[in-house]
């Protein structure tokens, strides 16, 4: 059989949850990510995120602002999810200068500094997915 004729089923789109309190920033990034083929769920706070997580099992990745996102900040949410939803990758965003270093000390969650280009987010998402795929490979 000719290998090139084998039909490879397309990968299902990744569902990601975007946590961003600024509605305008959120809609711009969400639109961009949808244009890249992601299914994007939008929430304004960590509280809404937890509610969304209770209602769906499809979320594979969370993109969260670190600060001012409700009763849990981005770090706290990421730590909590590591226990409750270990299959979900977390990508944090911030305008704080030292947050990236702090995050690196605390955990392995990635931080993208604001202002960022939407392409930076997609690049980081791809890196996270690649890392997860590598981990999943049987030895």
């Amino acid at each position: 059989m000719n290998q090139t004729n084998l039909k490879v089923p397309p990968e299902p789109p990744i569902t990601l949850l975007l946590i961003e309190p600024d509605v305008l920033a959120r809609l711009v990034l969400a639109d961009y990510l949808r244009g890249c083929g992601y299914v994007v769920l939008e929430v304004a706070s960590s509280d809404e995120a937890l509610e969304a997580l209770r209602s769906t099992t499809e979320i594979e990745l969370i993109l969260a602002e670190i600060n001012d996102i409700g009763s849990m900040n981005g770090f706290e949410l990421a730590h909590s999810l590591r226990v409750s939803h270990p299959h979900i990758d977390v990508l944090l965003t911030t305008s704080q200068t030292h947050a990236a270093e702090k995050c690196h000390e605390l955990c392995e969650h990635r931080v993208v500094k604001k202002p960022y280009a939407p392409q930076d987010i997609v690049r980081q998402i791809n890196l996270l997915r690649q890392r997860r795929r590598t981990r999943k490979k049987p030895e």
Binding site: V23, L24, L27, E42, V43, A44, E48, E51, A52, S55
Partner: protein, 135 residues
């Protein structure tokens, strides 16, 4: 330039119709937004009236607002609809609530509909299609 007519920006007919959903129940909002996106609408999600006003003030083209009435914050959905009837009378608004029924039409003649919760998404779709139909 003096004497030149002021042109209103024309709607890009190639762009999808954009619906602004204002709903504080995140699960319901996500579900309605997902449904409308699935049938071809561009959807902006807002959890309160102030965010909705920020979106409208930003100049992004909005073709219809679908808002819950009972929401936390300084302004509820009724207040939002009343404000839009004055400031954007051409912008159709669909109100929804599980508790209240709104029958009064806005004085300005702005287009307003009411959908009782729980609503059928097909009924919502029919309203959205009718209210955003060109012409």
């Amino acid at each position: 330039m003096v004497g030149e007519p002021i042109m209103e920006p024309e709607r890009d007919i190639a762009a999808p119709i954009r619906v602004l959903i204002v709903e504080d129940s995140v699960v319901l909002r996500m579900s309605v937004a997902h449904y409308l996106r699935g049938i071809g609408y561009s959807v902006i999600e807002s959890g309160n009236a102030q965010d909705a006003l920020d979106v409208i003030a930003s100049g992004i083209q909005i073709d219809l607002v679908f808002t819950d009435i009972d929401m936390p914050g300084d302004m509820d959905g009724q207040g939002l609809a009343d404000l839009l009837a004055v400031e954007h009378p051409d912008l159709p608004v669909i109100l929804t609530s599980g508790d209240r029924i709104v029958t009064a039409e806005p004085a300005s003649g702005a287009v307003r509909r009411f959908l009782q919760k729980p609503y059928d998404l097909l009924v919502l779709q029919a309203h959205v299609e009718e209210l955003t139909r060109p012409g």
